[in-house]
Symmetry: C2
Subunit: 152 residues, 2 copies
């Protein structure tokens, strides 16, 4: 990993750390975005990034669980390799719908515990969630269509 690459990994790490992710998690993500070959073993990741094997194991597991990274087996090799999952970003965007619905549920759950005469604070959130719940699926469909066009 040269200087420029190191700087890039740091940039990605800084960005995602701002939203509460751990440094190691974000560094692995950043490195997997640009490393060559794209398929890496845990031991290589640890070596490349100067992290312990334990950290890589743990953080990589969360990446896999979140669907950002997948295990691959390279023909002829018997080691476990990991790479950025193609289409992962798309999936993250698609799964946003679940979070929107959770917000909507939060709004619904508020109704019984607040005085009925001023529900506006909560109906606003509910309406918003409703709007996105309707708009999100067609938007995702358009997204998929457009991205496939680029990668035939």
């Amino acid at each position: 990993m040269d200087d420029a690459q190191h700087q890039y990994v740091d940039k990605v790490a800084t960005f995602f750390t701002m939203f509460g992710s751990t440094r190691a998690w974000a560094e692995i993500l950043g490195w997997l975005m640009i490393c060559e070959p794209a398929e890496r073993t845990q031991a290589e990741l640890a070596e490349d990034l100067g992290l312990s094997a334990g950290t890589v194991s743990t953080q990589l597991r969360t990446h896999v669980q979140l669907g950002m990274v997948e295990q691959v087996r390279v023909r002829g090799e018997r080691v476990q390799r990991y790479r950025l999952k193609p289409g992962a970003w798309r999936e993250v965007m698609t799964s946003e719908l679940g979070r929107i619905q959770a917000l909507g549920d939060l709004a619904s759950a508020a109704a019984p515990v607040m005085p009925g005469d001023r529900p506006d604070r909560v109906t606003e959130l509910g309406d918003l969630a409703g709007f996105f719940a309707r708009e999100w699926p067609p938007l995702m469909a358009r997204m998929t269509a457009e991205l496939e066009k680029g990668t035939p």
Copy 2:
């Protein structure tokens, strides 16, 4: 604050804590969503939620900076009151565009530091960011139109 309300605040807090926010921050948000009257002083919030005055001051400031909460002066009173900012959720969604663009920048920045023969990992992210950069403004416009319809 009765039991049901307490439970609701806890529910909201649990939800937002999952995404990296602090407990106090999320509790204040949850309580401001349902408390009556909606306008509260810092001292009241501290008392209601069992937080120290210092914590309330700090967390409330971040709420104000993020645009979720605003200061209001109630006629005749001279105390500082705070409430959930009307339209705050809408604004949060609108400002999502900034984060999308940041992701797009991250993708652009990757180009120089990776071998040119396999740029797919990064172009995917770039295309995605481009898609949202184009779609987001009209989507926001539709959102505003629809929500205004509900609150004439």
